[in-house]
C-alpha cells in the first residue's frame, strides 16, 4: 500500500464496496494444506483473474467461493468468505441458494445430455424462477442471447446440448450459469479446452458480461488474464503472492516471483 504512484489506468475513482471478500482463507485436503491464508476482494464491476502455476491452489480457491469444495471428501475450509455481508460458510447459509447466487463455469464444457433449451432452463426450473412456459422461453432466450449463442441455436433448441461444438458447448454452459441470475460467476479455465477462435469468442463474451455480475476467472494463459481482467491475483504454493490491478501486475510487479512467472521464467 506504500506504492506512491497512483494507477492512472484504473478507472475506479474511489474504492467501491467489494461483492465478495475472502479473509485469511485456508483449505485443507485431509492433512494437506492447499490454500494458506488467502485474502482477496472481488468487485462487482470487475473481472478478477487468478493466475499461477499448476497446483498452486487457484482452482481450489475458486471452488471455495461457491462451496463446491464441500463435495470433495476430506476438504476443510477455515477463514471468512462473505458474499455481500453474508458469511457463506455460516451454518444458516443455504448452499443451494449460494450456488444460484454464485454460478460456475468449468474447465471442460459439461452440458447436460439434454436439449439446449433444457440445459438453460434447468436452473430457473429447479429454483422456480419462471413458472409459466412463456416466462421460461424468455429466460432461455435472454440467457442464450447474453451468452452470444442465440443466433446459432435458436432454430434447434430441442437438439442435444452435447451435439454442439466445444466452443458452443462452453457458451451454453455460460448461458446455463447466467440463466439463474447470479451475482458472481466463477470460471475455472473456461478456455483451456477450446481452440483460439472459440477462446476469442469466450473472451469477447466476458467483456460483454462484465458489469452485470462479478466475474472471477482462473486461467493459465497470461495474455488472457491481461486481456480480460481488471484485477489479478498471482497464486503460488497455496498463497497469494501478489494481488492488484492487472495493469500493475503485468507491467510493474512488486514481487520477483510474480515477475518471473509472468515473464515465463517458470510455471
Amino acid at each position: 500500500m506504500s506504492e506512491p504512484a497512483p494507477t492512472p489506468k484504473m478507472p475506479i475513482p474511489k474504492m467501491p464496496i467489494p461483492k465478495m471478500t475472502a479473509r485469511d482463507v485456508n483449505v485443507y485436503y485431509g492433512d494437506k494444506q492447499a490454500i494458506d491464508g488467502v485474502s482477496i476482494d472481488v468487485f462487482r464491476d470487475d473481472v478478477t483473474a487468478l493466475i499461477g502455476p499448476s497446483g498452486c491452489g487457484k482452482s481450489t480457491f475458486l471452488r471455495t467461493l461457491n462451496r463446491m469444495n464441500d463435495t470433495v471428501p476430506g476438504a476443510r475450509v477455515t477463514g471468512d468468505i462473505r458474499l455481500d455481508a453474508d458469511d457463506i460458510y455460516a451454518p444458516q447459509m443455504d448452499v443451494v441458494q449460494l450456488r444460484a447466487r454464485v454460478g460456475m463455469v468449468f474447465q471442460k464444457p459439461n452440458p447436460f445430455p439434454k436439449s439446449i433449451y433444457d440445459n438453460v432452463a434447468y436452473g430457473p426450473r429447479i429454483h422456480g424462477l419462471a413458472p409459466a412456459k412463456a416466462d421460461m422461453d424468455g429466460v432461455v432466450e435472454k440467457a442464450l442471447t447474453r451468452a452470444g449463442l442465440w443466433a446459432e441455436v435458436k432454430d434447434r433448441l430441442s437438439d442435444s446440448g452435447t451435439a454442439l461444438s466445444g466452443g458452443q458447448q462452453q457458451r451454453l454452459c455460460i448461458a446455463r450459469a447466467i440463466a439463474v441470475g447470479p451475482e458472481v460467476v466463477l470460471m475455472d479455465e473456461p478456455c483451456s479446452a477450446l481452440d483460439p477462435i472459440a477462446t476469442a469468442k469466450i473472451e469477447e463474451l466476458i467483456h460483454e458480461l462484465r458489469g452485470r455480475f462479478a466475474i472471477v476467472i482462473v486461467t493459465h494463459n497470461m495474455q488472457q488474464a491481461a486481456r480480460v481482467s481488471q484485477r489479478t491475483a498471482f497464486f503460488h504454493m497455496g498463497k497469494v503472492v501478489e494481488y492488484g490491478a492487472t495493469s500493475d501486475i503485468f507491467t510493474n510487479p512488486r514481487e520477483d516471483r510474480t515477475k518471473d512467472y509472468i515473464t515465463g521464467r517458470y510455471g
Binding site: 471428501p73 447436460f112 434447468y122 452435447t162 454452459c173
Partner: protein, 419 residues
C-alpha cells in the same frame, strides 16, 4: 558426439527379420486362439439349441385318433339355452360321456382300444359337443387325443405293443397330429397328455414380478445411497464387502434364510409366488446393487458438478441427472439378475415350491411352482410322455429368458444417452 552405426542399417538384418516373423506369428496364433474359443462356444450353443428343439418340439404336438362315436341311444342330452357351459359340462360327465368314449374305442379298435384314448379325450369330446350339440343325435367321428403310450409310440419312441397299435391305426388312416393347446394352457398333471406348462409359466411370471418389485427399487436405492450419500469409512467398507460376498453366496442358502425369515418368522404363505419372489429378490439384490453402483460411478463427475453449480440439491442431482444416465446400466444388471433368478431352483426347493400343483396360481399367495422346478419335477417322472414335456418346458423357459433379454436390450437402447 560420435553416434554408433546408424540404426537404420539394422532394420533389414536377419535378427530383425526373425523378430518380425515371430511377432506376426504370435499375432496370428492369438487370433486363431480367439477364433477357436468363439467357435467352440458357438458350437456348444448350437448343439444345445438343436438338441432341445429336436427333443422338445414334439412336446408341442399331440397325436389324435379318429374315433367314430354313435350318440344315438346314448341318452346324452344337454340344453344350452337353459344351462351354463359349466352345467352342461358336468351334465355330460354325469350322463356317462367318458364311458361312451371308451365303449366307442373298444368297438372300433378291439378290446385293447380302451387303452388308446388319453385322459384328455373326455374334455375334447365335451368341447366338441358344446360346439355343436346337434351331434348328440347322430354318429360322428371325433379326433380324440391318444393315450401317452400311443403318443410316444407315434413319435417313434414307444414300446413294442404300442408300436404295433400305432402301425395298425396308421394303416387304417385313423392317426393325425395337431398342436397341443393343452400343453400351453394346462398345469401339472399325473398324465403326461394332460400336463401343461402354463401353471409353471404363470408361477414364474408372478414370482419374477415380485422379485422385480422388491429387488429393483431396494437394490437401486442401496446403490444410490452407498455411492452418493454414504461417508467413506470403515462401516461402509464392511457393507460394500458384504454385498460383494452376498452376490457369491450359493443360492440354496438364501432358501434357508427365506424359510427361517419369511415362513417361520413372519408366517407368510409358503410355496407361493410371493415368498418365492421375495427369496429370489434376496438373491438378486446384491447383483443389482453391484451393477447399479458401477453404472452410477460411470456417470461423469462433471455432470454432477454442472448440476450442483446451478444450485441443484443433492436429491435433484441424483434424480434429474445421475439416475437417468445410470439407468441403462442399472437395467442391464437387473435383467442379468432376473435371468439368473428365473432359472433358479435350489432356494425354491426349501420354501415349498417343490410340490405337485395342479392349477395355475390365481394370486400371489396361491401355491405355485416355477418353470425350472417343473422341468426338474417332470424329468423325475417315469412315464415316457414326460420326456418330451420336459424338453418342451425347457424351450418355453428359454423363450421367456430370450424375451426378457430382448426387453432389456430395447430398454437400454431407449434410455441410452451419449455425453
Amino acid at each position: 558426439m560420435n553416434s554408433p552405426a546408424p540404426p537404420t542399417s539394422k532394420w533389414a538384418g536377419d535378427a530383425m527379420q526373425a523378430r518380425l516373423r515371430r511377432r506376426y506369428a504370435a499375432e496370428r496364433r492369438f487370433r486363431w486362439f480367439g477364433f477357436g474359443a468363439v467357435a467352440l462356444s458357438v458350437g456348444f450353443l448350437l448343439f444345445l439349441l438343436v438338441n432341445m428343439a429336436a427333443a422338445g418340439l414334439s412336446g408341442f404336438s399331440q397325436t389324435r385318433i379318429a374315433v367314430p362315436v354313435d350318440f344315438r341311444g346314448s341318452g346324452l342330452s344337454i340344453n344350452l339355452d337353459r344351462m351354463t357351459r359349466e352345467q352342461a359340462q358336468s351334465t355330460l360327465a354325469q350322463q356317462g360321456l367318458p364311458d361312451l368314449l371308451t365303449l366307442s374305442a373298444t368297438a372300433a379298435f378291439g378290446p385293447e382300444g380302451e387303452h388308446y384314448l388319453g385322459a384328455a379325450a373326455g374334455a375334447v369330446a365335451r368341447d366338441a359337443i358344446l360346439g355343436d350339440p346337434s351331434m348328440l343325435s347322430r354318429q360322428v367321428i371325433i379326433d380324440l387325443p391318444a393315450a401317452s403310450a400311443i403318443d410316444v409310440a407315434a413319435k417313434g419312441a414307444g414300446d413294442a405293443v404300442s408300436e404295433a397299435a400305432v402301425a395298425r391305426l396308421d394303416a387304417q388312416g385313423k392317426l393325425s397330429s395337431g398342436f397341443d393347446t393343452l400343453f400351453l394352457s394346462g398345469a401339472d398333471a399325473t398324465d403326461p397328455t394332460l400336463a401343461g406348462v402354463w401353471g409353471a409359466l404363470k408361477g414364474s411370471l408372478l414370482t419374477m414380478l415380485v422379485t422385480m418389485l422388491f429387488a429393483f427399487p431396494i437394490g437401486t436405492f442401496t446403490a444410490v445411497y452407498l455411492e452418493e450419500y454414504a461417508p467413506k469409512n470403515r462401516l461402509t467398507d464392511i457393507i460394500e464387502v458384504s454385498i460383494n460376498n452376498l452376490a457369491a453366496v450359493p443360492s440354496i442358502i438364501f432358501g434357508l434364510l427365506a424359510l427361517a425369515l419369511f415362513i417361520n418368522m413372519f408366517g407368510l404363505c409358503g410355496g407361493s409366488p410371493l415368498v418365492g419372489g421375495m427369496t429370489l429378490a434376496l438373491m438378486t439384490m446384491p447383483v443389482i446393487v453391484i451393477a447399479a453402483r458401477n453404472a452410477i460411478k460411470a456417470v461423469p463427475p462433471s455432470i454432477r458438478d454442472a448440476a450442483l453449480a446451478v444450485g441443484a440439491s443433492k436429491v435433484q442431482v441424483v434424480f434429474h441427472h445421475v439416475l437417468p444416465l445410470a439407468l441403462p446400466g442399472i437395467l442391464t444388471g437387473a435383467i442379468i439378475g432376473m435371468a439368473r433368478a428365473l432359472g433358479e431352483t435350489a432356494p425354491l426347493l426349501l420354501i415349498g415350491m417343490r410340490a405337485f400343483v395342479g392349477d395355475a396360481p390365481a394370486g400371489l399367495c396361491d401355491r405355485a411352482t416355477v418353470l425350472p422346478m417343473q422341468i426338474f419335477l417332470w424329468s423325475d417322472e417315469v412315464d415316457k410322455g414326460f420326456v418330451e414335456n420336459t424338453s418342451a418346458a425347457i424351450i418355453v423357459l428359454l423363450i421367456v429368458l430370450l424375451s426378457m433379454n430382448a426387453i432389456a436390450i430395447t430398454l437400454r437402447n431407449k434410455f441410452e444417452q451419449r455425453w
